[in-house]
Amino acid sequence: MSFVSLGFLLFLLILFVLYYALPRRFQWVLLLAGSLVFYAFASPKYLIYIAVTALSTWFAGKLIHDAYAARDAYIKDTPDITKEDKKACKEQAKKKGRRILVCCLILNLGILAVCKYTDFAIGTINSLFGTDIAFLRFALPMGISFYTFQSMGYIIDVSRGKYQAELNPAKFALFVTFFPQLVQGPISRFDQLSQTLYSEHEFEAQKITQGAWRAMWGFFKKMVVADRLVPVVTGIACNPDKYAGGYVLALVFFYTIQLYADFTGGIDITIGVAKMFGVDLAENFDRPFFSKNITEFWRRWHITMGTWFKDYIFYPVSVSKWMLKVSKWSRAKLGPQLGKRVPVYLSTILVWLATGIWHGASWNFVVWGLLNCLVIIISQELEPLYAKFHEKCAFSNTKGWDVFQMFRTFWLMAFLRVLDVYRNVPLTFRMVPTIFSSKGWSEMFSGGMLKFGLEERDYIIVAVAIVIFLIVGILQGKKPVAEQLAEKPLVPRYLIVWVLIIVILVFGAYGIGFDATQFIYNQF
C-alpha cells in the first residue's frame, strides 16, 4: 500500500479517528495494530521477517539487560568488594553483553545480506568466473534495510549501556514496525522516538494541522513533481543509444529533481503523518541543496542515515584496537603528517563503501559511494588551499560566492547520482562525456523532449514547482514553514492549504493521465 494511494488515506482516516476516540492508554497499541495491518497489506508473506528481527532484537536486549542488572546487583550486594573483583565482574558482564550483541547482529544482518545481496553476489561470481549460477531472486521484504538498521542501532546502544532496554515486547515491536517510517525511514534512535511514541497524546489541533500540512506538502512534491518526471528519466536512461549528448544533461538534472522531490516528499509525508498522531520523528533533510560543499551536503541529506553510519561504523572502526595499530604503523612508516591521515581516510572509505552497498545491490551503488568518498577526501586535502584563497580574494565571502558554491555542489551531486539511473558503471562513464559532444542538443530543443509523453505544460509545472521549492527553502531557513503558516491569520492560512489541495488534485501526475480530448478517439 504505497503512500500515494486512496487505500492509504482511508487507512489513515480510520486509524486517526480510532486513535483519538479510544482512551489514551490504548493509543500505542492501536499504532502497533495499524502498523501490522499496513505491513500485512504491503507484503503479507514477509511479516515473518520483521517479526523475527523485532523479537530477536527485543530478546537480545532483555538478555543484556539481565546481564547488566545481575552485574549491578552483585556489586551492590557485596559491600566490601575489591577493585579488581569489581573490574573483573564488569569485564565479565561486558563480554557477555558483547557476545549476545554479536549473535543478534549476525542473525539480523545475515537476513538482510542474504535477502538483498545473494543475487548480487551470484551475478558478480558469474561475471568474474564465467560460471552460470541461476539467480535465486529472493524477494526483498518492505523496508528491510531501514528497520534492520534501526533495530541494530538499538541493540548496540543497549549493549553500550546508553539506555535501558525495552522489556515490553509489544512496545518494542511498535518501535520496529511504526508504519510511517517503514517505507523510507528516517532511521530513528530508540531513546528519542520512545519519548513520544509510547506517551499519551491529547487531541492538539495545532500540532495535528501542522502535521497534515507537512504531509500535504510531501504529497505535492511526490505527485506533482516526482511522479511527473518518471517518464522522462526512464525514457532517456533506458535508451542510451537513442538519447545521448544533451539528453544526458537533461537526465542528470531531472533525475536529481525527481529524487529530491520523491525522497524529501516521502519523508515529509512520514513526519507529517507521525506528527498527526503526536509522534515526533527525526528530521531527515535540512535544505540539502543550500549546502556549500560535499561534507556539508552529507550532513543535511538523509541525516539519520549519515549519523547512523557515523555512530555505528565510522567511530567504532576508527577507534578500534586494530585501527589504532594501523595508525601507529602508518605514523612510523609515513611520518606524522601523512600517517595522521591514514586511519581517518581508511575508515571514511569503509563507511562510504558500506553506504554505497546499503543503497542497492549493484556495482553502480558501490562506485557511487566510493566517488562520494573520493570527493570528500579531496576537498579535505584542499582545505588549506581554500583557506589561503579565502584570505586573498575578497569576493570569496560575498553572497555571490556562496551561491556559486551551492550551484557547484548541486551539479557535483547530480552527476554522481546519475550512476543510480544508468545502473551500469561503464555505460555511465561512456554516456556522461557525450554531453560535451554536439549530439542531441539541437534535436532536444526542437521538440525532442516531448517524446516522453510529457508536454510543454508539464515542464512548465516542474519549473514553477522548482521555484516554489526554492522559496520555501529560503523561508525554511528562518523558521519551519509550518510554524510560520500557523502564525498567519485564518483566511490566508486556509487559502494556502486550499490552493495546495487543488494543485495536488488537478496537477498531480496520477491516474490515467492522458489527454482527455484524445482519450475518446485516440488510436489503439
Binding site: Y49, S56, L140, Q523, F524
Partner: protein, 170 residues
C-alpha cells in the same frame, strides 16, 4: 563452552527457517531478454515487403492497382480502417497521428504464400517445419515477433487461413 555452541546452532536454525520462507519474489530485476526477438515476420508481394505498422503509402505505390478498396470508421477510435483487396491477399491499414500504417495482411487464396513457403492448403507439418512446434492437433497456431503476430488456422490438418496481425499495445 557447550552453551556457546548450542547458541550458535540455534542462531543458524532461525536464520535457515526465515530464509526458506524467502519465497522467490518477482520484484527484483528479471533478466530482460524481451520475448522472442526473432526477426519480424513480413509478407512479400512482388517488389514490396510489407511489415506490420509500416507506413502504408509507399507500399500502396509498390503494390500497384488493387481490385477493391473499402474504408470504414475504425471501430477502435478515430481515423479510418482501410482494406485493399489484391485478389490473392488483402492489405489492412489503420490511422495513427494522421498517417496510415499497416495493421494486417490476410491471405485469401493459394496463389500467394509467405516468404517461408506456407500458403492456404499447406500441411500442418510444413508449418511446423517452417515456424516451429505448436500444440498437437490445435485448430490454430500463433507465432509472435516484435511487431507482428502470425496466425495460421487449420481444418483437419490443412491450412485454411494465414494472417499477419500488427501487435498494437492496447
Amino acid at each position: 563452552m557447550r552453551k556457546k555452541i548450542s547458541a550458535v546452532i540455534a542462531l543458524v536454525l532461525v536464520l535457515a527457517i526465515t530464509l526458506c520462507a524467502c519465497g522467490s519474489g518477482s520484484n527484483s530485476v528479471t533478466p530482460n531478454n524481451s520475448g522472442s526477438n526473432t526477426k519480424d515476420f513480413v509478407f512479400k508481394s512482388g517488389s514490396a515487403t510489407i511489415a506490420m505498422k509500416a507506413e502504408a503509402e509507399p507500399l500502396l505505390k509498390a503494390l500497384g492497382a488493387y481490385k477493391n478498396s473499402y474504408e470504414a470508421p475504425s471501430c477502435a477510435f478515430d481515423g479510418m480502417d482501410k482494406i485493399y483487396s489484391y485478389g490473392g491477399f488483402d492489405l489492412m491499414t489503420y490511422t495513427q497521428n494522421g498517417k496510415d500504417l499497416v495493421s494486417g495482411v490476410v491471405l485469401r487464396d493459394d496463389t500467394v504464400e509467405t516468404p517461408e513457403g506456407i500458403a492456404i492448403g499447406s500441411s500442418a507439418d510444413a508449418v511446423k517445419k517452417a515456424y516451429g512446434e505448436f500444440e498437437k492437433d490445435a485448430t490454430s497456431a500463433t507465432y509472435k515477433s516484435e511487431n507482428c503476430k502470425l496466425l495460421i488456422i487449420f481444418e483437419n490438418g490443412v491450412v485454411t487461413s494465414v494472417q499477419y496481425i500488427a501487435l498494437v499495445e492496447k
